[in-house]
């Protein structure tokens, strides 16, 4: 019994930082609809700034003062980010802002490295709270008790702010109906800035307050990201009490997980999430998302037409020229080109559902990595010939997408996105922790193609056939009746359903097709690298895909492919420099601000403006 109580208290104490960070994310999303990928970075900054302040400020007042100041400082950094990076792109397509926040992650990573150095720092202990208290014979750290006591106060303070003050009323109103707030004569942009300050400050507080239980390091930002997304989704997006309940639920379950199923702690969190969302699709205290009557937010896409003969000839010339690459360039460039094509296919498959279907998947890496793992497992265990394994990669990934799509498509919008993320993380954690079968972190190696493809040049042609073939096939599908049905389901579900289109089924099939093509890319990948590791299933990989699709232009047909090619090539070049993350982050932010329609979208818009003087008859 004593141990049980002690475990419960540990869970409650762990929930403190998680709740603070997650509540900030939830607030920011609720009001601004921005999915802030850089929230983990604010958390990391809070920890480092808090640490630095604690070195200077003495005693208990210094300690607690440092935590508050760290929150304040991070809040101000949040304001800077909001003003400089996000404000210019509020009018961009929905979710485009997440690309900007990804740029912020990269910039903060390198700045933190410059300022605080590479070594982990151990947080100081809380003055006066270093010891333990014995509760029913079990040792419980005093600081844990302090955390348990503080968190409800923070929750209460936030609740008071939100429900009892004028600012809070506006925040709540904005959460439910942004236009209405504008109509009330409130300056919406300053409301957004204010909420960003509060959200970032909460993340900073979370980072600083966990210092006595840990410290600060440069991997904190990504390490907390999945957990806080899970907490926000389980609690219900925009709900503070929900975030608290979810943080407690996850933390307490985790403590018991550690005690009774220590091998599977990673999986546990995502299983809980899947169960909760099955029973309550919008989280414990979340409200059903009121989707717009007409599908997408923002300017509608332009009509599309298959490429004309001129364009086809030019593409053909380009492909023939690409085919001659091995004869004119150094061998390495065929390898680089292989990488580019594989990533382009991955991006094109994501773009298929994201652009045409309006389905934002945050977990597309699951199918890329899934396909690669299917092939690798077949080679590893069944000694299957490369050709068969390669063929089964897209099929396996497609089947995975059939299952995940079925689960996720019951939801829509951001909830759909979050559930795809959670299920992709579930796949990742299974692969990562089931190492008897998957090799875990050490992956599966020696997965090489058949002898006739072992030469880089031969494999390059193989990749051209299947990779570019896949891209062209996806592109063709956009122009088929199915592609039209998919766009119809995006543009107006009501109209589509009222004219006999089973929109969910169309979207389900599209999701599965996209998964299969991502799996094809994964199959090409694994045989070009000879190995596969869980990193190819990680959130970061999914984010890479999202970023290139948005950067390329989500509302254009070739956006994904162009974005992928551009990013891969830029990255190949830029990573040769010392502070490449800073440079890449700034570059991404610059592109986001200068070209909010994405690379292709902005170029199109430019030409459209030049040559047609704003007419509406321009065809793709």
């Amino acid at each position: 019994m004593g141990l049980f109580v002690a475990q419960l208290l540990t869970g409650l104490a762990n929930a403190a930082a998680l709740f603070l960070v997650a509540s900030g994310l939830s607030l920011i999303f609720g009001v601004t609809r921005i999915v802030n990928f850089s929230h983990g970075s604010f958390y990391m900054l809070g920890a480092f700034i808090g640490y630095s302040l604690m070195q200077v400020l003495p005693g208990a007042i210094g300690f607690w003062g440092s935590i508050l100041l760290a929150g304040l400082a991070v809040g101000l950094i949040g304001v800077v980010v909001e003003l400089l990076v996000l404000r210019p792109v509020y009018k961009a397509p929905e979710l485009f802002q997440l690309v900007a926040t990804f740029g912020v992650i990269l910039v903060i990573q390198d700045l933190a490295l410059m300022i605080w150095g590479a070594e982990d720092v151990l947080g100081p202990r809380a003055p006066g709270l270093k010891g333990i208290v014995r509760i029913m014979g079990e040792p419980v750290p005093k600081f844990d008790l302090a955390l348990i006591a503080i968190t409800p106060f923070v929750l209460f303070a936030l609740w008071y702010l939100i429900s009892r003050t004028r600012v809070g009323v506006l925040v709540r109103a904005a959460t439910q109906d942004r236009e209405m707030v504008g109509a009330l004569g409130v300056n919406q942009s300053w409301l957004f800035t204010g909420v960003f300050f509060l959200g970032a400050a909460l993340a900073g507080l979370g980072g600083a307050i966990q210092l006595p239980k840990g410290g600060a390091d440069l991997l904190m930002d990504f390490n907390i990201l999945a957990s806080i997304f899970v907490v926000v989704v389980i609690g219900g997006m925009g709900s503070l009490p929900g975030a608290y309940i979810a943080a407690v639920l996850i933390s307490v379950l985790n403590v018991f997980g550690v005690a009774y199923i220590p091998q599977s702690t990673l999986v546990l969190m995502f299983v809980v999430m899947a169960v909760v969302l099955t029973v309550r699709p919008y989280g414990l205290l979340g409200r059903e998302e009121v989707a717009g009557e007409h599908g997408q937010v923002g300017e509608p896409d332009k009509p599309i037409k298959p490429a004309g003969w001129m364009a086809r000839i030019i593409v053909l010339i380009f492909l023939v020229a690409l085919g001659f690459l091995p004869f004119v360039a150094e061998p390495f460039f065929t390898i680089l080109a292989t990488d580019v094509i594989v990533f382009c296919l991955f991006a094109a498959s994501l773009h298929f559902i994201l652009g045409l279907g309006g389905l934002v998947s945050f977990g597309h890496a699951a199918y890329f990595g899934g396909g690669a793992y299917v092939a690798a497992l077949l080679v590893n265990y069944a000694n299957s010939p490369m050709e068969l394994a390669f063929l089964l990669a897209p099929i396996g990934a497609g089947l995975l997408a059939v299952i995940i799509g079925w689960l996720c498509l019951r939801l829509s919008g951001v909830y759909f996105a979050m559930l795809t993320l959670a299920l992709a993380q579930l796949v990742w954690s299974l692969v990562f922790q089931w190492d008897e079968f998957t090799g875990g972190d050490d992956g599966l190696v020696d997965i090489w193609p058949s002898a006739y493809l072992s030469d880089s040049t031969a494999y390059f042609y193989f990749t051209m056939v299947f990779g570019i073939g896949g891209i062209l096939l996806l592109r063709h599908m956009a122009h088929t009746p199915f592609g039209y049905a998919l766009r119809a389901s995006r543009d107006s579900v009501r109209q589509a359903e009222a004219t006999g289109i089973n929109t969910k089924r169309v979207q389900w099939v599209a999701f599965s097709i996209a998964g299969a093509f991502a799996g094809l890319a994964g199959g090409l990948f694994v045989f070009s690298k000879g190995s596969i590791f869980p990193v190819e299933l990680e959130i970061a990989k999914s984010f890479d895909g999202l970023i290139v699709v948005f950067l390329g232009g989500v509302k254009t047909l070739s956006g994904g492919v162009v974005g992928a090619a551009a990013l891969t090539l830029v990255q190949d070049y830029i990573t040769r420099f010392e502070y490449w993350r800073l440079a890449l982050g700034l570059l991404i932010i610059a592109v986001v601000i200068i070209a909010p329609k994405g690379i292709v979208g902005s170029i199109n818009a430019l030409f459209r403006y030049r040559f047609t003087r704003g007419g509406d008859e321009v065809k793709e």
Binding site: E293, P300, P481, A498, G500
Partner: protein, 259 residues
């Protein structure tokens, strides 16, 4: 005379409030029937229940004798009901003619065709329908740039793609100039006449209603308070009271424009 549509005791309540209560009526073959009533009378809820967008609390809807109550809209559509909406919901990213072609593709069950070029399918049929509603010269424009009245006409063309036996038209002339309204309703009346299909429509413009409807029903606070010929309804004391109290029977008040 067998009814095409037979509605009996249809009710819908939202959280204890009755939006529609105990509505019964039928639509005869080749009949142009108007459903009028002040804002919030329950007309759109009624339409939504007929086509399945909203599930009724109780009551039944029969189409040609077959019960279709609570069926999903896409299935109701396949049974032969076409619908236009009060607030249009066309596919903004497609051209006008592609919008019609999309419905034709659906009608011909080719939604999962992954080979053909969609824009080449059923183009002549689609253009013929557009011509019928007077939209042929705008067929290649992007839907997103159309005037609201044109969107309404496009929706009518779309609703006709599967040769429906019944048309449901929610505010078909909203957003149009008075002359256009008359023209569109005349067109609808012609279609009803020529194709021998039935049409049920809601409308705010009483000139339009009284000029074209074969029969008029009046809904107030979810209840059907009148059902009869144009003359009967015009002279119905209860109807006059409702309209004099809440709005105007002869005035055109354009209150529900594009959101």
């Amino acid at each position: 005379m067998s009814a095409v549509l037979d509605v009996s005791n249809l009710s819908k309540s939202f959280g204890g409030i009755d939006a529609v209560s105990n509505v019964s009526f039928s639509v005869a073959k080749a009949e142009l029937l108007a459903l009028i009533g002040p804002n919030g009378a329950g007309k759109t809820t009624c339409f939504n229940m007929l086509m399945g967008q909203t599930k009724p609390t109780s009551g039944t809807v029969k189409l040609n004798g077959e019960t279709i109550t609570g069926m999903q809209p896409r299935k109701v559509w396949r049974k032969g009901i076409g619908r236009t909406f009060q607030i249009t919901g066309t596919y903004a990213s497609m051209t006008v003619v592609e919008n019609v072609q999309m419905a034709l593709l659906s009608h011909h069950k080719r939604l999962f065709d992954l080979r053909a070029y969609a824009h080449k399918q059923y183009k002549s049929e689609a253009l013929a329908l557009l011509e019928l509603v007077g939209m042929q010269d705008q067929s290649e424009r992007a839907c997103a740039v159309l005037a609201y009245g044109d969107l309404k006409r496009l929706e009518l063309a779309i609703a006709l793609t599967h040769d429906p036996i019944l048309l449901l038209m929610d505010e078909p002339t909203a957003g149009m100039a008075p002359k256009e309204r008359i023209a569109l309703m005349q067109l609808t009346a012609d279609i009803v006449e020529q194709r021998q299909i039935s049409a049920l429509f809601t409308e705010h413009d009483m000139d339009v209603v009284f000029a074209h409807a074969h029969r008029v029903m009046v809904l107030n606070r979810g209840e059907l308070i009148a059902n009869g010929s144009v003359e009967e309804v015009r002279n119905n004391a209860q109807v006059q009271e409702v309209y004099l109290g809440g709005g105007s029977l002869y005035h055109d008040e354009e209150q529900e424009t594009r959101a």
